[in-house]
Assembly symmetry: C2
Homo-oligomer: 726 residues x 2
Amino acid sequence: MTTKSTMEKEDDRARHRESRGGAESLRPLLRPRSIAVIGASNRENSLGAAILRNLFELGFHGPIYPVHPKASFVHSTKAYPSLEAIPDEIDLAVIVVPRQFVEGVMQECASKKVKGVVVITAGYKETGTEGAKAEQRILEIARGAGIRLIGPNCMGIISTDPETRMDATFSPTPPPEGTVAIGTQSGALGVVMLEYARELNLGVSDFVSMGNKADVSSNDLLQWWENDPRTNVILLYLESFGNPRKFAALARRINHKKPIIAVKSGRSRKGLQAASSHTGSLAGADKAVEALLVQTGVIRVDTVDELFDTAAFLAHQPVPKGRRVGIVTNAGGPAILATDACEAWGLQMPDLDDSLKARLAEFLPKEASFKNPVDMIASAGAEEFEKATRVMLESDQIDALLVLVVRPIIMNASEIGRAVVRGAAGSNKPVLSCFMGRQGIPEALSSLKEAQIPSYAFPESAIRVLSRVARYGEWKERPHGSIPELPDFDRDKISAVLEHARARLGTEGGWLSPGEVDELLTHCGIATPVSRFARDGVAAREIARTIGFPVVMKVIAEGVEHKTDVGGVHVDIRNEDEVEQAFKTIRQSLIEHDIPPDVMSGVMIQPLIKNGTEAIVGASCDPSYGHLIMFGLGGVHVELLRDVAFRLAPMTDMDAKELVRGIRGYPLLDGFRGADLADVPKLEEIILRVSTLVSTFPEIQEMDLNPVKVLARGKGCVTVDARVRV
Amino acid sequence: MTTKSTMEKEDDRARHRESRGGAESLRPLLRPRSIAVIGASNRENSLGAAILRNLFELGFHGPIYPVHPKASFVHSTKAYPSLEAIPDEIDLAVIVVPRQFVEGVMQECASKKVKGVVVITAGYKETGTEGAKAEQRILEIARGAGIRLIGPNCMGIISTDPETRMDATFSPTPPPEGTVAIGTQSGALGVVMLEYARELNLGVSDFVSMGNKADVSSNDLLQWWENDPRTNVILLYLESFGNPRKFAALARRINHKKPIIAVKSGRSRKGLQAASSHTGSLAGADKAVEALLVQTGVIRVDTVDELFDTAAFLAHQPVPKGRRVGIVTNAGGPAILATDACEAWGLQMPDLDDSLKARLAEFLPKEASFKNPVDMIASAGAEEFEKATRVMLESDQIDALLVLVVRPIIMNASEIGRAVVRGAAGSNKPVLSCFMGRQGIPEALSSLKEAQIPSYAFPESAIRVLSRVARYGEWKERPHGSIPELPDFDRDKISAVLEHARARLGTEGGWLSPGEVDELLTHCGIATPVSRFARDGVAAREIARTIGFPVVMKVIAEGVEHKTDVGGVHVDIRNEDEVEQAFKTIRQSLIEHDIPPDVMSGVMIQPLIKNGTEAIVGASCDPSYGHLIMFGLGGVHVELLRDVAFRLAPMTDMDAKELVRGIRGYPLLDGFRGADLADVPKLEEIILRVSTLVSTFPEIQEMDLNPVKVLARGKGCVTVDARVRV
């Protein structure tokens, strides 16, 4: 076994895949011209029988070869005793034999020069070490023979391409044909998703149950779907990222062309390994996931339900150009619910201007409400719905329209459905509808479905979708910035400092000494104040006088990480007597905290930076996601209120801007209640320097600049204290 | 017109109702022995026809008398030209005539001594001033004749009582019989709710569409349902409270017997009237609603969907005794989603102990996961589900069980449904199920429905319901405290101060002077520090020396409310020279903020309370909800981070405890990172004093104690500054 990190191993695998032709190597899996099913069976209720039946039922565009050790035919089709016995070429083999036979079948696939394999059989990595070894063995056979492998432990794949028409799953519900691609890491949810697609009549291009992702991962699929002209929207259900950095690069690129919507579950699962920096302890794995998805424009949703709500919109409606929502309705109650939802989800419901109100008043009764929501009251019929829909969409005062309908008392609801379709025809703004009721109002939905206007059972669902896609639209439009060149960043000298520290600390690594940290930051171009060591009270007096009052005194003691917690920091010391007193108090405080005073080697004296807002900038290395950069304001903001934001390194200048503005406390840097504007540009620069530092030297495991004093605009920032671990 | 406040008017109305026999006066409405329908019609699609049809279809247990000006029969039933012409007594009249005829019909009802009236007809208060006047007129007729009135502008009422069987609505869907009472302020949502009840097979006892609530309100209905033996759960959809204080008293009492679940919409609507205190500006109307519902144990949900999700649970399952959830499943993916939801909703998923694991291992394969969630893997059949359900419910390690099922590949899902029912039989712990799929797994749901085990389409919905009902259970169990007697609260002296201030300020009211505030607080038993006024820098020197350094200096200037914003506060002044300098700086700062220095009458000098945590305690009067008490920590905690909590006055000692612990920053008072424990008991006492003050003297419009310095445990609190407006 080598000692390569997970990250390095993933990189190896990614390189391996690239070298094998990238996305195009998936063609035999997703567009095969011939399929063998090994484990095909006449036994009802067996997986093999279900897969074979599905393949025939969807009408695979090519020959299907059942392989069965004894039967001469399966599903009324000539069966072969082995792969070898098949006289023709096989693009894709679907393996559904018991686990003990899979390895042998894989060998046969290699001999037969099969190009793609789907292993349905379970009992691999998901069951523990033994299974993981077996999985590794079949993966090695595949690699050796240039076979691309989906699974094991998956529920199969589907392509609705008319030139392919393959349903190689055991799911009871084939999806309709369309433009939405689905990749799922859970087979069970895959079944649920196919059922959704059928019920919502949401057309699917390809469906892949990835199973254990031994070979083909979501990254491979993203590349395939990026270039697939049949796919416009990509849905993912993920429990883990194989190679998150690769995912990030792909998602950022692809999201500009086709939206990616993802459920990433496992939020509450594993944290990072025990970490002792602030950044480390705050940076749970889900922070990394969230940062990754935000930075790359992925629309993250919480549930499968929302996944399809959002897909139903993006498959057919344009992305709204802003956050202004108009609502047209025939009932007040649901409109209030929708208004509440708009506020909760950060959308705006602008008041309508007088000319628009006048246009509405031409055909609405005077009891109607001409504010937004436009409440046409219960008497509204098809004509009112059609006209109001059209008039609202024609105005430049909204970016999207929600038509909200309760079952009309007198009229047939289907007429209203058709009226909305007519009113929306030709608009280039998105239109959503909500026909209130647990199933909507079924007779109204058929015409909407046909016209591809998505309909939701609740106004809240519709508004949530609009909010998510509006944010996606903003992400697409905004500049993404670049990773700037930083002056005074001396790569060689930093390297030397780290080299020296590692030599001292050995293979286990550890914290850099205060001196090393100082040097490191200086070579990064990050300013630190004068800071001098004093062994005793007398020396401290002397140093403080030289530096100039007021000063700060901090204990230096082996093993004391959080100096404040043990009374080890005194600020605003104004004269020499106070210096000596502070030294004594610190010593005494250690004793009170059961710390032997001998471990106190002395104190550091620094000038007090009186002004400025305290901030923390940190970095922490996740074994799979790489470095996560944290930003927050000092003290309770970070420690208690957890008011922090994260981005993955390397960051662009835009990322830095967003990071700083991503905390609730940002107004404190922006002139809150008459305060000076803080030097945010300089703060962003420091963040970029930290990002560049850890990206260039990934051996840095964690670091905190804490506190960074952010001075007034133009005055810069001072990093008062810092810690770095390699 | 009198100038009574909304609050006083509501009180009048409440008294009026009480005097008329309370809940029992609703009997002729909800349990009538005879019904007249005025506006009955043969015209298809008319509301009158729909109501008459519904009354006959559900089989009203008593005679129905159609009233029609011309027709001799309606719906094959003899019709009468007027109420008067009916030879028998009428309990309930349902009025569905055009608006211009309603007043005449009401007069007829009065002559006929009808006891209850439902006015379906719309066009009243909801349409503006004219309509409101018409509504007032019909209300006065009702009051004069002792008639209880539901509506106008409503969609009718239902009772499924076998002795009544009345569907006097125009809804297409009558609900099944059961124990859930529904009151709704929106007729449109009423139709949706009845559809839900039918689809989920959730049995309803009574249903009331309240319309404009001219007479009968949700408070009347709560009292009726409190005493109705057929009702176990109460659902409300509310857009406003008529008399929130009455609602609070009722809800608090009734929630101990029967849970009330409510959607209160209109969160984003009206704020309080322009207010200039911190408390006023932070206390939006929804804060008052939230405080009211939390204090009274109402289960607040956001959507109609959740309303029914929660009702489906409470109608048949016991309230869990704690927050520990066990999950049994046949699929990993959905279990991860459920685990994430547990964390998000504050529920616990305890690890199972070894003996429980051993019991599970007796019948589960070794590939299963014996952690919680118990993943029995895809091969799990009916037997495994039955046994695992039973074993989990028998253990003392969980308070509730969620059975989470994806469609089994081989087996019929209905067998699993039946197995869960068998496994759950006889348990006194709540059981929920989730059969994954947009409609659940229909064939499995029938046996669950029969056994009254609620089933949800998504694990997230199930977990959300569990979280809400677990919190309700905690509310029921906890002590509710009492409003304590406060020593040193001198009612008479406070009254005198307020009298004096009002004499000075006139009818418009205004802010109390610093001297009046000081006196007021002293008579409330709230300690304030010595604080002395100085006209100029020389006087300030003198006073500061007398008080003792360090001191605080604050500007006194007409019209300057937020002193800090204009540089009007200097803290930690350490000697006389610094005093004089501070005085000059404040003067200069006013000029820089374009405030003429003449308005500065001088400064107040106080000792600096160096230690202690800054807090804000405030009160603000909402015209309908009464006084809302606010608590938060000082500075950015309140102003920027909005980390505040609210309760309605008068508060119990338990309310005060919860209020203080209800902010994110509470650990700062509780020894966060080695800090001293703050004097929280004393802080709670101050909060109770403010609550008692504003409850006793409702003329206090708003007040802030800001800051209150909370010292170390046992050292008390010091109110450094305060403002009071009458």
